[in-house]
C-alpha cells in the first residue's frame, strides 16, 4: 500500500551534523517507552554527556482548567480522575477538600476514615506502580511483575468499593457516596499482612543488586536549595533533606490522630528517592492498620453518616430524596444547576503520592468556578530536569526520569 500523502517533513532536516563544536542533538520522545508518558526531551550531547536539556511537555494537554470553568463543581469531579491517573482518589480528594473549605462544611467522621483509607490505598498503588515502572526501565523485569501483582490486589479492593479499577471518582464533595463493602476490611487486612514480606522481596532483589546500585547511587543528585527553588514536593523534596509532609505539617482529615513517621534522606540522589518510596510504603501500611481500627470504632459508636449535612450545597441522603419533597427539590436544583459556593478564593494543598497537589479555586458565586488552577507536583518535577540532566550520561536520563515519578496527565493537565 502506498503511503497516504501527507505534509509532514522529515524530522531532523534542520539539524546539521557537522557542527564545529561536535555537539549532537538527540530527540527523546514524545513517545518513548521509558519516558513515563509523553515527555519529549531535546538533549544536547557532547559525546555521551548531556550539556543541555530541554524538556518539552504539553503532549497530553487536554484543557482541564478550561473544562473546569465550563462545568459545575460536581461535574468536574470525574475529570480530576484523569489527572494523576495512577492514584485517582487523591485528586478527587484534593478537589473535594478545596470546595469543602470554600463552602465551609464539615465531613462526618466515618466519611473521613473511609477517605483516608482510599487515599492511603491510592498511595500504595502509586508507589507500587512507581517501583514497577522504574525497575522495568532499569531492566528489572521481575520487580515489575511482582509489584503489578500486588497492585492488582489493591485494585480489586478499590473496584469492590467504587466499581472502577483506575478512574475511581470515589469521593464526593461533602463526604463519600457509599460505605465500604463487607469484604473490604478482611481483604485489606490480608493484603497488609502480606505486604512487609512483599516489600522485603523487592528490597532483596534490588538493594544489593550491583546494576541497580550503579544506576541509582550518586546519580541525579538534587540539592536542598535546588529542590526548594524548583518547587519540588513530596518524596522528591524529602529525599533532598527536607522533612516536609503536608499530612504531618498541615494535617487534614484525621491525620493528626494517626501515628506515622515521615521518612527522609539528605542524599538527594536516585537511591535516596528509592529508599524514601520504599519506607513510605511501610508507613502507609501502618496508617492503614490504624484507619481500620478507627473505622471499627465508628461502627461501634454508631456513626453512620457519610455525607455532610448542608442542604444549600449538598444533596440529602438517597432515602430523604425518595421520601421528602423538599429534599427532592433541592436535589433537582443541585443536579441541574449546580451548587453556588460563596464568592471567594481558596488554595488547598494536599499530599498526593507525587507531592503537593493544590487546587486554587476562584468562585464568583456562580455554579461554575471562575478560575480553577491545578497545582500538580509533577509539573515542576519535570521542570527540574532542565537543571538536573546536564552533566549526566544518556543512560542516566532513564533512571532520573524514573525516580522523579512524573505522570503526564498531571504535568500537562
Amino acid at each position: 500500500m502506498a503511503q497516504v500523502k501527507n505534509r509532514l517533513t522529515p524530522f531532523f532536516e534542520n539539524i546539521t551534523f557537522d557542527r564545529e563544536d561536535n555537539e549532537l542533538i538527540l530527540n527523546f520522545g514524545p513517545q518513548h517507552p521509558s519516558a513515563h508518558g509523553q515527555l519529549r526531551l531535546m538533549l544536547h550531547l557532547q559525546q555521551e554527556q548531556i550539556v543541555k536539556a530541554h524538556p518539552d511537555v504539553g503532549y497530553l494537554h487536554r484543557g482541564m482548567e478550561k473544562m473546569a470553568e465550563n462545568m459545575i463543581y460536581n461535574e468536574f469531579m470525574p475529570t480530576t480522575d484523569r489527572m494523576d491517573y495512577i492514584a485517582s482518589s487523591s485528586n478527587n480528594y484534593g478537589f473535594a477538600l478545596a470546595v469543602e473549605k470554600l463552602i465551609d462544611v464539615e465531613v462526618p467522621r466515618r466519611a473521613k476514615v473511609i477517605r483516608m483509607m482510599l487515599l492511603e490505598i491510592n498511595r500504595l498503588m502509586s508507589h507500587l506502580f512507581w517501583l514497577a515502572t522504574t525497575a522495568l526501565d532499569i531492566g528489572a523485569m521481575t520487580v515489575f511483575l511482582y509489584a503489578f501483582r500486588e497492585r492488582e490486589y489493591l485494585m480489586d479492593i478499590i473496584e469492590g468499593y467504587c466499581g472502577a479499577r483506575l478512574t475511581h471518582a470515589a469521593i464526593r464533595i461533602g463526604g463519600v457516596p457509599l460505605d465500604i463493602q463487607d469484604s473490604f476490611i478482611t481483604q485489606l487486612r490480608t493484603f497488609l499482612d502480606k505486604l512487609p514480606a512483599n516489600i522485603k522481596d523487592y528490597e532483596d532483589l534490588l538493594d544489593t543488586n550491583r546494576i541497580w546500585l550503579m544506576r541509582m547511587e550518586e546519580v541525579g543528585t538534587i540539592s536542598t536549595e535546588m529542590a526548594l527553588s524548583w518547587g519540588c514536593t513530596g518524596p522528591m523534596l524529602r529525599a533532598s533533606g527536607v522533612q516536609w509532609d503536608i499530612r504531618k505539617e498541615e494535617p487534614y482529615e484525621l491525620y493528626d490522630e494517626i501515628e506515622f513517621n515521615v521518612p527522609y534522606s539528605d542524599k538527594g540522589d536516585n537511591f535516596a528517592r528509592y529508599r524514601v518510596y520504599m519506607e513510605e510504603m511501610r508507613e502507609t501500611a501502618k496508617i492503614l492498620y490504624q484507619t481500620i481500627d478507627m473505622y471499627e470504632e465508628t461502627v461501634k459508636n454508631g456513626q453512620t453518616e457519610l455525607m455532610a449535612h448542608a442542604p444549600k450545597y449538598i444533596s440529602a441522603p438517597k432515602l430523604d430524596i425518595m421520601t421528602q419533597n423538599y429534599s427532592l427539590m433541592q436535589h433537582f436544583v443541585l443536579v441541574t444547576q449546580g451548587m453556588r459556593p460563596p464568592v471567594g478564593e481558596v488554595y488547598i494543598a494536599t499530599e498526593s503520592p507525587k507531592g503537593e497537589l493544590g487546587f486554587f479555586i476562584n468562585s464568583q458565586g456562580g455554579p461554575y468556578p471562575y478560575r480553577l488552577k491545578l497545582r500538580a507536583p509533577s509539573f515542576w518535577h519535570t521542570g527540574i530536569l532542565t537543571d538536573l540532566l546536564p552533566g549526566h550520561y544518556i543512560p542516566d536520563v532513564v533512571s532520573i526520569i524514573g525516580t522523579t515519578n512524573i505522570v503526564f496527565g498531571e504535568v500537562d493537565r
Binding site: M1, L8, F11, P30, Q31, H32, G37, L60, M67
Partner: protein, 169 residues
C-alpha cells in the same frame, strides 16, 4: 528420562501438519501480534496492566515493542492531543505492513470526555482504525477481547494478498 505420552494423531500433537499457505501464515501473524507501546494516558496504564502478571499478554504472543518498525499493531491507548497528532501519523507510517490499529478507550475513539480545544476528536481523523474499544478506561479484559477479535480478523484475511488500503482520506 520421563516418558511423555504424546498422541500424535490428536490436534496439536503432530510434529508434521498439512495445511495451506494461508493458514500457516495467518497462524503466525495472528499469534505473534507485537504491539507498539503507545501508552498516551490513563488507558496506557491499563495496557501495562494487561501486559503484567495477572493478565499476561504473552499468552497471545502479544509482546510490547518499543519501536514501530518491529510492531504489527498500534494500540492507541489514551487521549490524542492536537500537539501529538503529527507523531501518531509518523509512527503509523513507520510501521511495516501488514499493520493494524486498535483504538483503546473513549478518548482515542471520539475524544471522549475531553471535548476541548486541545483534543483530537477521535484518532481516526488521523490514522485508519481497525478496532474500537469502549470504556474509560477499558479494563484489561476488554483489551484482551479486542486482541482476540483482531486475531480472528487476521485469520479471516487471505494471507497472500497485500493488505487492502485502508480508507482514511
Amino acid at each position: 528420562m520421563a516418558q511423555h505420552k504424546v498422541n500424535y494423531t490428536q490436534d496439536g500433537g503432530l510434529p508434521v501438519a498439512l495445511t495451506s499457505i494461508d493458514k500457516i501464515v495467518n497462524w503466525g501473524r495472528s499469534n505473534s501480534i507485537w504491539a507498539l507501546t503507545y501508552g498516551l494516558a490513563c488507558c496506557g496504564i491499563e495496557m501495562m496492566a494487561s501486559g503484567a502478571s495477572r493478565f499476561d499478554f504473552d499468552r497471545y504472543g502479544t509482546i510490547f515493542r518499543a519501536s514501530p518498525r518491529q510492531a504489527d499493531v498500534m494500540i492507541v491507548a489514551g487521549t490524542l492531543t492536537k500537539k501529538h497528532a503529527e507523531f501518531i501519523k509518523r509512527l503509523y507510517d513507520q510501521m511495516t505492513e501488514p499493520r493494524w490499529v486498535i483504538s483503546m478507550g473513549s478518548c482515542a475513539n471520539t475524544g471522549g470526555m475531553f471535548n476541548t480545544y486541545a483534543t483530537v476528536q477521535g484518532c481516526d481523523r488521523v490514522i485508519p482504525v481497525d478496532l474500537y474499544l469502549p470504556g474509560c478506561a477499558p479494563r484489561p479484559e476488554t483489551l484482551q477481547y479486542g486482541v482476540m477479535l483482531l486475531q480472528k480478523k487476521i485469520r479471516a484475511n487471505k494471507a497472500g494478498n497485500a493488505q487492502k488500503p485502508k480508507r482514511l482520506m
